[in-house]
């Protein structure tokens, strides 16, 4: 583990922010305060953070319908996101996008996306731009095990290979696309990564619930891609702790499955265990972060509730740059 104490603390805090952001949304949505469809990232934090801790604002990411974690990991403002999800005019997208369309282009976050599979070609385009700039920057697209069946994902992989675009395809295999199992929906001779391999990409695989595994793997992937070797793909095995959307009865889960993954596959518990075993960070320090994060999320919710609401006349702004 080559991370400094500062880096470790930051990674933990980021994962914790995502976790509490989502746990709190889970509660808030149940009270009917938040409109629309919301897909929670809870459980997959180690992937978003393990990937994005390597990036700066000039690296780009493109996200999915389950995008809060990617946004937060890439540096989107917690308050701005919460306000957006509440539909405030002060939200990151002025209340026009909502949970499924959060973006912050200045931070290199090119958008969550409500259309499954739509992000991959966009990331290839961003990667082609970065290739032209010649600064060794990369574009990353996150896709689920369901999104990997959409034609756009395949077209994007092939286009990236053909054009040697510095694009990284991160597959988050959480074993479900909505209510359907990975075993059923994804035809492969092995796994998602092996498909990517057949397109001529170098691929990696790692445990997506282990921050250190993600982080170390991504170091290699990024070195390879930043060096101009063309695109690459990584498959992370991970878990989502909530339903597909809020309200999902989750009949597809096995008995005790949710309890088991919370107990055995929690990336935060795993992180704490690892840093304790290696005597890198003290539990009390992490406890203090936990407190701070809870306060931060409380404050974000309070701010979102109090924030200015959009007005009818806002509907027609920003359709075009010039009218």
């Amino acid at each position: 583990m080559q991370l400094s104490r500062e880096e470790l603390l930051q990674a933990y805090r980021r994962m914790k922010v995502i976790r509490e952001f989502e746990e709190r949304l889970h509660v808030e949505i149940a009270t009917g305060q938040i409109a629309g469809f919301t897909h929670l990232y809870c459980g997959q934090e180690a992937v978003a953070v393990g990937v994005c801790e390597h990036l700066d604002a000039s690296d780009k990411i493109v996200s999915t319908h389950r995008g809060h974690g990617h946004c937060l990991a890439k540096g989107c403002d917690v308050d701005g996101m919460m306000k957006e999800i509440y539909g405030s005019r002060e939200g990151l997208c002025n209340g026009k996008g909502g949970s499924m369309h959060i973006a912050d282009v200045d931070k290199g976050m090119l958008g969550a996306n409500g259309i499954v599979g739509a992000g991959a070609p966009i990331a290839v385009g961003a990667a082609l731009s970065l290739k032209l700039d010649g600064q060794g920057k990369v574009a990353i697209t996150f896709s689920g095990d369901g999104a990997c069946n959409q034609g756009t994902t395949f077209e994007a992989m092939n286009l990236a290979v053909v054009t040697k675009a510095p694009c990284i395809f991160v597959f988050e295999n959480n074993h479900y696309s909505e209510h359907t199992g990975f075993e059923y929906a994804v035809g492969t001779n092995k796994d998602i990564a092996s498909r990517a391999e057949a397109f001529g990409m170098k691929v990696w695989r790692a445990d997506g619930t282990d921050f250190f595994a993600v982080y170390e793997t991504m170091r290699d992937v990024l070195e390879y891609v930043r060096d101009g070797n063309g695109p690459a793909a990584v498959e992370f095995d991970t878990e989502r702790f909530f339903g597909h959307f809020e309200g999902d009865p989750q009949n597809y889960r096995g008995k005790g499955e949710l309890e088991r993954i919370r107990a055995e596959r929690d990336c935060l518990t795993n992180f704490r265990q690892k840093v304790a075993d290696a005597k890198l960070l003290e539990g009390t320090v992490l406890d203090a972060i936990d407190e701070e994060v809870l306060d931060q999320i409380d404050a974000a919710v309070d701010a979102a509730r109090a924030a200015e609401r959009p007005q009818a006349e806002d509907v027609l702004t920003n359709v075009y740059v010039t009218y």
Binding site: G87, K96, G97, G117, A118, Y176, T180
Partner: protein, 336 residues
């Protein structure tokens, strides 16, 4: 008569038709649900609960759960139809015609024509459309104008459980590709449903309110907004015909023109933005074929020319409301 929800009308009609005709086959994402999971099949039966129980009754060869691949879903429906089956494919959201349009527009709509009439293509593509759930720009759209513009497709937009049953039966028994558009906000609406095996022929609008002053034409969720406006105006002695088109292709031109001939005033209400919409389609029809009857400019009450915004207040402002319909009626009445 039985009371039934719109979503149950969809489900029961397909179910009965599957019992009646072994060629009817259902396919789509999560139409079974639970495939390949510890929980096992039938975890959901369609995210709109429009295929619950199908898998248990008809098995995996007639109730086909698919990966997230809308082009393949519609294309497979086309292949099933060419091979003699009667597929009913579900697009979870109408917005997903974006990822499957070629198979709708360039394939199933055109097979019969391109092949010189030597095949039929009885594929029914169902899709949930419309705003009202704050599902934002990619999960709330109305797409009937796009589909209506495409020769070879029939486009159906039922508003009541009773119409769902009659129109869906007609779709399932016909030999043409049908786009069956179900408004998300109507799934939970209950209504009386006639008994018996009735069908409703396409191309017949339904007059849901009668009046002699103004003609209101609408589809889907907008019908109820027109009705609300008409009811409010009736209290002031203003009488409106409200026409629920039910199908936009074929279109019941006669019903529209007959009404306008009497009223001389037309308000068209459309959940989509105005440009190249069904609203303009009907306004143009009347301006050509009922010109002599028109006593005031046609008014179109539509969504504004913007993507659909997320926030509650914005979506509300975006959608045509009964108030806006009322205002349009007053405007045509106040002309000159």
């Amino acid at each position: 008569m039985t009371k039934m929800m719109y979503r149950d009308a969809v489900r029961s009609t397909i179910f009965e038709e599957m019992q009646r005709n072994e060629n009817v086959v259902v396919l789509g994402e999560d139409v079974v649900g639970g495939m390949g999971t510890a929980g096992g099949p039938e975890a959901i039966g369609g995210i709109w609960s429009t295929s619950t129980g199908f898998y248990d009754a008809f098995g995996p060869d007639r109730v086909i759960d698919t990966p997230i691949s809308e082009s393949a879903i519609v294309g497979a429906a086309g292949g099933l139809a060419l091979a003699g089956k009667r597929p009913v494919a579900e697009l979870m959201f109408a917005d997903f015609i974006g990822v499957s349009l070629d198979q709708i527009w360039n394939q199933i709509a055109k097979f019969r024509y391109m092949f010189g009439g030597k095949t039929t293509c009885p594929a029914v593509i169902r899709m949930a459309y419309g705003a009202g759930f704050n599902a934002a720009a990619q999960h709330s759209q109305s797409v009937h104008h796009i589909l209506t513009s495409m020769p070879g497709l029939k486009v159906v937009m039922p508003t009541t459980p009773a119409d769902v049953r009659g129109l869906l039966r007609e779709a399932l028994r016909g030999d043409d590709p049908v786009m069956f558009l179900e408004h998300k906000m109507l799934y939970g609406v209950e209504g009386e449903v006639p008994d018996g095996d009735y069908t409703i022929p396409f191309g017949h609008a339904k007059l849901t309110r009668a009046g002699e002053d103004v003609t209101l034409v609408a589809t889907g969720l907008m019908v109820s907004r027109c009705e609300a406006a008409a009811d409010a105006l009736a209290e002031e002695g203003i009488g409106c015909d409200v026409l629920d088109l039910r199908t936009t292709s074929p279109l019941d031109e006669e019903a529209i023109l007959d009404s306008v001939e009497v009223t001389g005033r037309l308000v068209v209400v459309d959940e989509a933005p105005q440009r190249c919409s069904l609203a303009t389609d009907i306004a143009a029809l009347a301006s050509e074929k009922a010109f002599a009857s028109l006593r005031a400019p046609i008014q179109m009450v539509t969504a504004p020319h913007s993507p659909i915004p997320f926030a509650l207040e914005l979506e509300q402002a975006y959608l045509p409301s009964a108030d806006k319909v009322q205002a349009a009626v007053r405007k045509v009445l106040d002309w000159r």
